[in-house]
């Protein structure tokens, strides 16, 4: 099927009256969730899950993608107006967005953020549409060794998730891998680590754990906070009229937008790296490339453009490995994958070969979402002070109930609700132990795929571990993995070694 036919198919899936309405609803929901501090993009996607239970698999991914894209954009609203990033990936937007708001240019800052978000999102959607089929074709020649290597690449990013706490991040990732072992082993169906519970025989469902760790833990943490967010913080209460950049301003940031779009998409494609890493990386690159780096952080549109273009560009990138290899590029993609697996969809390279609708519908959904969200975000920004005035005493319990519905509806099993509650408490303990929840999720999501492929490769190669390295693609990917695993450990040592030498010269 050529790209044009795929596009027509995608349009026919999304341009159904009900589906179109659902996409609009998803964009409103996503922008709203994204703009509320404490509701991350992953949490927004997880909270959107119950809405998909009555939908087909293609419609579900269309709906969830719309929430994902718009929540990343929504995060910039609170970042600019209140210096509180709605989603972690908007943290870099506060550097220049809030100073602009303080200078009375909040409308302009929002205009730049929304415009650049849309461009980044559209660019990455196009990249996803063009790259995914190529990667799928390449992946068809992949054996278990290659699949293990690619999955391991996702795990190798673990040490980079929190370079200040590598030991605890690795422990968290390993705990996730261990959780994925509960139930029956993927090759022979032998019962493992169920502690006699029949309900654990089918393993631990990912969705309740995700919802528990991302949504419930956050509400529990907020419960302990003395003051909750109010509309009177920052510049809340004032009128905000979004003002799009002028043609001259667009010209001045054209290279920033282009570079950030490419960087964001590439970072998004890497398994494990996501919108947050993309936005910080892009901001840092632009600071280095700029002719006036000293102005970054004082309130210039270049800084907002770098961060917002890159974080939205990462959304399309994250969908590439998910659709073409069946490996999630980030936490939000992991939630989407769980939703598809729940509906019996077999993830992997054959997905796009047999059902290209998934790619084309996702592409069309991203295009529509990225355009609609600009309008929705402008409206939300206008009434944002009022929205933030909604007391947390309503918002917190609603999140708990949505989490409950989302977990229970996974398989109408009360055990899933209990797992969600346990995951929520475990998330709190994780914070107390300074462990990394994102690493745990990464381990849990990739654990089963990783073990299954490792086991198959091991058996095919007649018990040789060398098979992971002696096939060209697997070998190269494994070397990259080892490099990625060791870099955060080795780089501080190297830096430390060179620092005293410099001092001696002085």
């Amino acid at each position: 099927m050529n790209l044009f036919q795929m596009l027509v198919n995608g349009l026919s899936v999304v341009f159904q009256p009900t589906m179109l309405l659902m996409v609009f609803f998803a964009v409103i929901l996503g922008t709203l969730f994204g703009s509320l501090p404490g509701v991350s993009a992953t949490m927004a996607v997880a909270l959107g899950l119950p809405f998909t239970y009555s939908m087909g698999p293609v419609q579900s991914i269309v709906f969830l993608v719309a929430i994902y894209c718009s929540s990343i954009t929504g995060g910039s609203i609170s970042a600019i107006l209140f210096k509180i990033p709605g989603v972690p990936s908007s943290a870099a937007t506060t550097f220049d967005g809030y100073p602009m708001a303080q200078q009375g240019k909040a409308g302009k800052a929002l205009g730049v953020a929304l415009g650049c978000s849309a461009i980044g999102g559209l660019f990455s959607a196009l990249a996803m549409f063009l790259l995914s089929p190529q990667l799928t074709q390449a992946a068809l020649s992949f054996g278990p060794s290659e699949m293990f290597a690619v999955t391991f690449l996702g795990l190798s990013i673990l040490t980079g998730l929190d370079t200040t706490n590598i030991l605890r991040t690795i422990i968290s990732g390993l705990l996730g891998l261990l959780l994925a072992c509960i139930g029956q082993d993927p090759m022979y169906g032998v019962q493992r680590m169920t502690f006699g519970s029949n309900q654990l025989l089918s393993g631990i469902e990912m969705i309740p754990v995700l919802i528990g760790i991302f949504a419930v833990t956050e509400v529990l943490t907020q419960t302990g906070e003395k003051s909750h967010l109010k509309g009177s913080d920052g510049i809340g209460g004032g009128k905000v009229n979004t003002e799009m950049p002028t043609f001259k301003e667009w010209l001045s940031i054209k290279w920033v937008v282009l570079r950030s779009s490419i960087l964001g998409t590439v970072v998004g494609i890497l398994p494990g790296a996501g919108a947050t890493i993309a936005s910080f990386m892009s901001y840092s690159v632009e600071t280095k490339l700029s002719k006036h780096p000293e102005k970054f952080g004082t309130g210039i549109i270049d800084g907002i453009a770098a961060s917002e273009t890159a974080n939205n560009a990462a959304t399309g990138g994250a969908m590439v490995p998910l659709l073409s290899l069946g490996i999630p590029g980030g936490n939000a993609a992991a939630v989407m994958m769980s939703a598809l697996v729940l509906k019996g969809v077999q993830m992997g390279p054959l997905l796009l070969i047999n059902q290209p609708d998934y790619l084309s519908a996702t592409f069309v959904s991203m295009i529509i979402s990225n355009i609609v969200m600009v309008i929705v975000a402008i409206l939300i920004a206008k009434v944002f002070a009022q929205i933030l005035a909604v007391p947390y005493s309503f918002l917190g319990p609603i999140i708990i109930m949505l989490a409950l519905i989302g977990s229970y509806s996974t398989s109408s099993n009360i055990m899933d609700v209990k797992i969600m509650a346990i995951a929520g408490i475990a998330g709190l303990l994780f914070r107390a132990m300074k462990f990394n929840s994102a690493a745990l999720i990464l381990g849990l999501v990739l654990g089963g795929i990783c073990e299954g492929n490792f086991s198959r490769a091991f058996t095919i190669s007649r018990g040789s571990l060398w098979t992971m390295f002696n096939r060209p693609i697997a070998g190269i990917v494994m070397l990259v993995c080892i490099g990625a695993l060791l870099y955060p450990v080795v780089s501080p040592i190297i830096k430390k070694k060179f620092k005293p030498a410099g001092n001696v010269k002085k």
């Binding site: 119950p50 943490t221 917190g396 409950l404 209990k418 132990m433």
Partner: protein, 174 residues
């Protein structure tokens, strides 16, 4: 100290799992006889061993970092534990656990109302009547949105009169 105790407890639990619970059913004979098959216990055992080693390193690091600090003692931990059990976070945990236990017997409608109201109180809302009304309205909104419009399977409860009430409400709405 709390961090250290949590790490030690996790270490003990993992050691127990490694010793007794990795593989809980007999391995099929054909797998046992195949010298090239990756036995079902190998992968989790490797992860467990790595975890135990890393946790020991982490525990040693915690001890070395906090050695000599006044708060790094069992007395300090006991004080912190008492504070925690009095905190809103602990009550929040209790409410979440309670919700997971009452959802099946009492059904969605009652559970939703109880949680919206009590958690609202916990979060400091002192306008009781307004909270009561909003909890009631939100319960209905969530029920209609998910149970009726999206046809999500929500529990009706196992207590007879609550189940009858849920069925009555369903009939009334649809």
């Amino acid at each position: 100290m709390f961090e250290l105790i949590l790490n030690v407890l996790l270490l003990l639990f993992l050691a127990y799992t490694l010793a007794f619970n990795v593989v809980e059913a007999p391995i099929p004979l054909k797998v046992q006889k195949n010298p090239y098959a990756l036995k079902p216990g190998i992968w989790p055992s490797v992860i467990l061993v790595l975890l135990i080693i890393l946790l020991i390193v982490n525990i040693v690091k915690i001890i070395l970092k906090n050695k000599g600090k006044d708060t790094f003692c069992l007395k300090g931990f006991a004080g912190g534990a008492v504070e925690f059990f009095k905190s809103k976070v602990f009550l929040g945990i209790l409410l979440v656990v309670l919700a997971s236990f009452i959802l099946e017997p009492l059904g969605f409608i009652v559970t939703c109302f109880i949680i919206l109201f009590t958690y609202g109180l916990l979060l400091g809302d002192k306008k009781y009547l307004r909270l009561l009304l909003i909890s009631l309205i939100l319960t209905l909104v969530l029920y209609i949105c998910f149970g009726v419009l999206l046809q999500v399977n929500l529990p009706r409860g196992t207590v007879p009169f609550l189940r009858d009430f849920a069925l009555f409400l369903e009939q009334l709405i649809s």
